[in-house]
Amino acid sequence: MVAADETVKLTHLQRLEAESIHIMREVVAETEKPVMLYSVGKDSAVMLHLARKAFYPSPPPFPLLHVDTTWKFKAMYELRDRMARESGMELIVYQNPEAVAKGINPFDHGALHTDMWKTEGLKQALDKYGFDAAFGGARRDEEKSRAKERIFSFRSANHRWDPKNQRPELWNLYNARKAKGESIRVFPISNWTELDIWQYIHLENIPIVPLYFANERPTVQRNGLTIMVDDDRFPLNPGEVPEMKSIRFRTLGCYPLTGAVESYAKTLPEVIQEMLLTTTSERQGRAIDHDQAASMEKKKQEGYF
C-alpha cells in the first residue's frame, strides 16, 4: 500500500503494454496449442517484442508462423529469419502447396492471389499443425470491421467468423473455452493505434524492416500506386525503366501489391511526423481493401485473418 501522494501514474503505453502481456499469458494458460502469426510488419514486430516480455526469462512458449506468399519483399525475409534466431523461437514457414504448384501470383491471378496464399494458406497451416489459438497483430483502428472485433475472436471448425454473434467480453476476463475443431484468433494489440505502435518501436528500439524508412528505390506506377520493383519477376512494360525515387512504406505485404509513399523520412521521429501530418489512412496503400465497402468483413468471415 502507498500513500495517495506517492502513487505512480502509468502512461497510456505502459497500460497498453500490460494489457497485451496479460492477454498473451491468458492464452498460453488456457489453450492447448497456441501459435503467433508473424507477418514481419511493424505490428508483428511489436507483438513479438511483447511476447518476449510476457514470458521472460522463458522464451515465448509457442512457435512463430509465417504464412508466406513467396512475394514478400526480400528485406522482410531477412528480418524474419534474424528475429526467429534472436528470439529462440521455432519459425514455421507455410506456403500453400496448391498455390505453389499453380504458380499463383499477383499479376495474373488478381484476387485469387490473396485468397489462395493468405486465406487458404492460413487455414491449411492452422489445420495441419492443429493450432487452437493464433495470435494476430490486427488493431481496431485499422479498419471499421476490425473496430468491431473482440480480443478473443472465435472461429468455427471451418474458420468462419460470425460478426453478429460474438461472445460478450467483460473486463479482462477472456473465455477461451471452445469445442474440438473450433479455434480462436487473439488480437493482443487490439487497442493500440498506429501512432502507439510507432512510438513504442521508437522507445523500445524494436528492430523493423528498413523499408519503413525512406531510401532511393526503383519504382513503377501501377493503378495509381507507386510500386517498388523488388526483384526481376516484376513484369515491366516494353521499354519501361524503373524510376529511382525516395520512398518508404507505411504497411508491408506482397511487394507487387503494396503502395509506397514518397518520403525523405530517414529516422523514426521523422516517420512519425509524416504519419501525423498525412491526410490518408495506412490501409490506402493496400490493394486488397479497395474492392468494396465491406470487403474486410467479408474476407474475415471467410477465414482471412
Partner: protein
C-alpha cells in the same frame, strides 16, 4: 450537411508536430488515457456523436472521408448529408439496417489525453454488447433524444452503468436542433433524469445540451444555445478528473496467471497486479492455501524492478519454494483477502437460453475457473420501476440477485472494492458460451463459518486400510441400455478380487435419499448432485463406488467429475442404440412413454447427451455383458 465548414472545430492539428517532433512525442508519451462509452436508447444518436467526435478531432483521413461521403449517399439515414454514424457502424448488417449491433472501439487523442471510446448498441436485444463496452469504461455518455426524453433503455443503461461501477456520467441531451434549441425542454429532461438517477444511486452527473449531427457543444460552444454556460463535451472529456491511482492505495493483490519455469533455478509467478504496490522484501501470502513467503525479485525483460504498481504485468520470485499456481491470489501477508465458496451476487444474464438454477456452470473469476451452481434468484430487478420481482430464473438481459456455490473455496473481494477479484463471467459447460456476468456482494455467513473439520483419520488412511485406490465408476446410458446388468457384474468381480465396493442405483437411492424428487429437469439435476455427493463421501471412506443412472446431461456428469479427486472419476458409457433399447424394453417403460403416459422420458421426449470423451465406452451390440464387465475390470486394474 449544409454548414459543416462553418462548424470546423477548434481542434487543429498540433502545430508542435511540424515544429518539434521529439518534443511532441515526449508529450504524447505522457498523455493520460480515458476510456468511455456512449449509451442510451435506440436512435438517440450515439454513433453519430462518436463519428462527429472523430471528425472534429481530425481522426478521419481524406480517403476515409471520401468513402464516408459516398456511403452516406448510398446507405445513409440523412439523405444527401453526411451520416456520421457510418464511421462507426462498420458491419454490413448495421449499415443496411441503420442501427448498431455490436460495440465498436474507436480511438482519438487531443493535446492532453488519449481516448478509447466504445460505441454501444441501444437495442435491448444487444444489451450484452453494451455491457461488454461498459465493463472497461471510466466514463459513460448517456444520450437522450430531446424529442423523446427518458426511455426504458435510458433507464436500463443507466442502471447497468452504475452497476458496473462507472462513476463519471455525462447526460447528453441530443438532437437539440430538432427541438429548436429549447432551454425549457432541456431543463425538463435533466430534472426528470435527475430523479431517476438518484433513485438508482447515481450520485452525480454532468448534463449538457448537444447536437451530434450539427456539432453543437461538441468541440465548440454552440451559438444556438447561449443560455448554456457549461463546457463542451470535448472540453469535459479532456479535463474530467480521473482517479487513476485509486487501485494503488489499496493493499497488494495479484491473481497468478502463469508459473514461469524456464529451468530448475528459476520459478516465477506472472500476473497483472489488481491492486496495490509490491516491492522486493515484502511479506506475501498465497491464497487459498494461506502459505507465506517474501518477495525476492520483480523480474522483467528490462531488468528487475524496485517496485511495481496496480496495472502492471510482472513476474515475482519468492524466497521459499511454496506451492503457488494459476488461479491463486498473491496478497500482502498481513492484509489477505477472504476465501469462501458461497456468495451473494448480482447477475446479468446474457444468453437466449434462460438460467437453469442448480445446474453446474463454469465461473471465471480472476485467473481461476471453477465449477459453480447458481441458486434460483432471490429477486429480479425491474429496470423501469426498480421493483424487486419474484423470479424462478433469469431470462436474456435480466438482472437479478442470487446466491452462488462454488465447488471449492476461492479468494475474492466484493466487486465494489475490487473489480478483478469480485467480477466474474458465467460459462455454459455445454456450449462454452459466455452466458452471464456477475458481481460479488459478499460471502454467505455459512460458508465462512462452516470450516472444514480437519479429520484425524484421513481419506488416505481409509484407502490404505482397504488396500485400494478409491474410484467412482459412473455408468451412463439410455434406459434399458444395460447399465445395471453390467454394473452388477463388475461389482461381483471386484468383490471376488477382495475390493471394497458399493453400488448406487435408482432403486436404493430413489426410494430413500431422493424420494422427494420427481423427473423434471431440475429434479434430475438435483438427483445426480446428491448421488455425486454421496459417492464422494464414499470415496473419502476408501470405497470403489459404482453408480448406474441414466444421467442424461453432460453438464451434470461434468459437475460430479469436478467433485471428485483428479483421476478418481471413471465415466463408462454404455452405448446402446435407442432402437435396440426400445426393442428390449424390459420394464415396458418405452411403450408407456410412446403412449404419452410417461413424461420427460430420456430418448423419447427428453434428450440424452452422449459423453464426448468417456474413459470407457461399451458398444452393447458388439459384446456381451460378461465381456463388457471383464473389459472394464481390465481397464481399471491392469
Amino acid at each position: 450537411m449544409t454548414d459543416m465548414k462553418a462548424q470546423e472545430s477548434s481542434y487543429k492539428t498540433d502545430e508542435l508536430i511540424a515544429r518539434d517532433i521529439d518534443a511532441y512525442l515526449l508529450k504524447h508519451q505522457h498523455k493520460s488515457l480515458l476510456r468511455f462509452i456512449t449509451c442510451g436508447s435506440v436512435d438517440d444518436g450515439k454513433s453519430t456523436l462518436i463519428g462527429r467526435l472523430l471528425y472534429d478531432s481530425k481522426m478521419i483521413f481524406e480517403d476515409q472521408l471520401a468513402a464516408l461521403e459516398a456511403d452516406s449517399k448510398r446507405v445513409g439515414t440523412q439523405g444527401q448529408n453526411i451520416d456520421f454514424a457510418l464511421l462507426v457502424d462498420g458491419l454490413a448488417a448495421e449499415r443496411e439496417q441503420g442501427i448498431t449491433i455490436d460495440v465498436a472501439y474507436r480511438f482519438f487523442s487531443t493535446e492532453n489525453r488519449k481516448f478509447i471510446v466504445a460505441d454501444t448498441p441501444g437495442h435491448e436485444q444487444y444489451t450484452r454488447n453494451m455491457i461488454t463496452g461498459a465493463s472497461t469504461a471510466d466514463l459513460a455518455v448517456i444520450l437522450i433524444d430531446a424529442r423523446k426524453g427518458v426511455l426504458t433503455q435510458t433507464r436500463r443503461h443507466s442502471y447497468l452503468v452504475n452497476l458496473i461501477g462507472i462513476r463519471n456520467v455525462v447526460l447528453a441531451v441530443n438532437k437539440m436542433d430538432l427541438v429548436g434549441y429549447d432551454q425549457d425542454k432541456y431543463e425538463e429532461i435533466v430534472a426528470d433524469y435527475a430523479k431517476f438517477a438518484e433513485s438508482i444511486g447515481i450520485k452525480a452527473f454532468t448534463p449538457m445540451p448537444i447536437s451530434g449531427f450539427m456539432g453543437d457543444n461538441i468541440t465548440t460552444k454552440s451559438a444556438n444555445m447561449p443560455w448554456y454556460q457549461g463546457p463542451t463535451l470535448m472540453a469535459h472529456l479532456e479535463t474530467v478528473e480521473l482517479d487513476v491511482a485509486a487501485d494503488q492505495v489499496r493493499p497488494f493483490r495479484m491473481p497468478v496467471q502463469w508459473v514461469n519455469r524456464p529451468n530448475l533455478d528459476f520459478r516465477g509467478f506472472s500476473g497483472l497486479i489488481a491492486s496495490g504496490v509490491v516491492k522486493p522484501g515484502d511479506a506475501v501470502r498465497v491464497l487459498p492455501s494461506g502459505k507465506t513467503s517474501t518477495v525476492t525479485r520483480i523480474v522483467t525483460l528490462d531488468g528487475d524492478l524496485q517496485q511495481a504498481v496496480a496495472g502492471q504485468s510482472i513476474t515475482l520470485c519468492f524466497a521459499d519454494e511454496i506451492d503457488c499456481s494459476r488461479g491463486d491470489v498473491i496478497t500482502l501477508a498481513d492484509a489477505p483477502v477472504q476465501v469462501a465458496d458461497q456468495f451473494e451476487a448480482t447477475i446479468v444474464w446474457m444468453a437466449d437460453e434462460a438460467l437453469t438454477p442448480g445446474r453446474a456452470y463454469w465461473l471465471k473469476i480472476g485467473t481461476q475457473t471453477v465449477s459453480a451452481s447458481i441458486h434460483a434468484p432471490k429477486y429480479q430487478v425491474n429496470v423501469n420501476t426498480l421493483e424487486h420481482m419474484a423470479a424462478k430464473t433469469l431470462e436474456l438481459n435480466a438482472i437479478g440477485v442470487t446466491n452462488i456455490a462454488t465447488d471449492r473455496p476461492i479468494p475474492f473481494e466484493a466487486y465494489e472494492q475490487n473489480r478483478t477479484l469480485g467480477g466474474f463471467i458465467v460459462i455454459d459447460k455445454m456450449t462454452n458460451a459466455t452466458v452471464g456476468a456477475g458481481m460479488i456482494h459478499f460471502a454467505l455467513r455459512r460458508s465462512q463459518n462452516v470450516h472444514w473439520q480437519a479429520l484425524d483419520t484421513s481419506r488416505e488412511t481409509h484407502a490404505n486400510l482397504k488396500n485400494q485406490k478409491p474410484a467412482v465408476l459412473w455408468f451412463t446410458g439410455l434406459s434399458g441400455a444395460g447399465k445395471s446388468t453390467i454394473a452388477n457384474l463388475v461389482e461381483k468381480k471386484l468383490v471376488r478380487m477382495n475390493r471394497h465396493t458399493f453400488l448406487l442405483d435408482g432403486d436404493n437411492v430413489r426410494h430413500g435419499l431422493n424420494k422427494d424428487l420427481g423427473f423434471t429437469e431440475a429434479d434430475r439435476i438435483e438427483n445426480i448432485r446428491r448421488v455425486g455427493e454421496v459417492a464422494k463421501l464414499m470415496t473419502d471412506a476408501g470405497l470403489i463406488v459404482i453408480t448406474a443412472f441414466i444421467s442424461p446431461f453432460r453438464s451434470e456428469r461434468e459437475m460430479v467429475r469436478q467433485m471428485m479427486q483428479p483421476g478418481e472419476f471413471v465415466e463408462i458409457f454404455i452405448d446402446t442404440k435407442l432402437a435396440d433399447a426400445e426393442a428390449r424394453d424390459v420394464k415396458g417403460l418405452y411403450k408407456k412413454a410412446r403412449a404419452g403416459e410417461l413424461k420427460n422420458f430420456t430418448g423419447i421426449d427428453s434428450p440424452y447427451e452422449a459423453p464426448e470423451n468417456p474413459e470407457i465406452q461399451i458398444d452393447t451390440s458388439k459384446i456381451t455383458p460378461e465381456q463388457a464387465a471383464d473389459l472394464i475390470i481390465e481397464r481399471l486394474i491392469p
